[in-house]
């Protein structure tokens, strides 16, 4: 069981999203992969510029394939024009829990407010915050 996260060029993503998804699926299927789940995260601001891109669209795909096929898949994605960056991770237990905080876009308060909090407070708050998400 593999999990691939793809960062897609925004110009292509907004113009021809279906084509891009099909293109990625084709590459995977060409290499004998069985696609289990495709999920669009939507457009996000990148933490730093990649090849001049400030924003990008993320696509998450869960798939199953033989371990030997991964190198070929990775090379094909590197050659693709649509994809800025890709990360393929092996994950034997893809759970629902792993989706916490991902499907919805990150609320503005978390990105802005937390860095200002002093260290001692931060640790306490994070402890609480993580507990909350853990229980849910």
């Amino acid at each position: 069981m593999y999990e691939g996260l793809f960062l897609i060029d925004n110009t292509h993503a907004s113009m021809e999203w279906d084509n891009v998804v099909k293109h990625i699926h084709d590459i995977l299927q060409k290499n004998g992969a069985e696609i289990l789940k495709t999920e669009k995260w939507g457009e996000k601001k990148l933490a730093y510029k990649i090849k001049g891109h400030k924003r990008g669209t993320y696509l998450l795909i869960h798939f199953n394939t033989k371990s030997g096929a991964i190198t070929a898949i990775k090379r094909d994605f590197q050659l693709s024009d649509y994809i800025i960056r890709s990360l393929i991770v092996k994950d034997d237990k893809i759970e629902e829990v792993s989706q916490i905080g991902v499907i919805e876009p990150i609320p503005a308060r978390n990105t802005g407010a937390t860095p200002e909090i002093k260290d001692a407070e931060l640790l306490e708050k994070t402890d609480m915050a993580i507990n909350v998400t853990g229980e849910a």
């Binding site: 990649i50 905080g101 991902v102 990150i106 994070t126 915050a129 993580i130 853990g134």
Partner: protein, 73 residues
């Protein structure tokens, strides 16, 4: 005088929660394990056990590669 007085929860936060591995996609929580500059907290500072500190390290580095977290902020 009894030992109970000193019975503190000494495990790391992820052990207490029963989390096995961290997820690089969970940016909201990973941000809290890094400094304002985007550096990782030390094991001493975060209080994590060896297993979970490794896991934190790996997931933060994966998140950085995918531009979900900054290398330098």
């Amino acid at each position: 005088m009894s030992k109970k007085r000193f019975n503190r929860t000494s495990k790391c936060r992820f052990c207490r929660m029963g989390v096995e591995e961290l997820d690089y996609k969970d940016t909201q929580n990973l941000v809290k394990l890094t400094t304002n500059q985007g550096k990782l907290f030390s094991r001493k500072r975060s209080g994590n056990c060896a297993h979970h500190q490794h896991s934190v390290k790996l997931s933060v580095k994966r998140a950085r590669f995918m531009a979900l977290l900054p290398y330098v902020a």
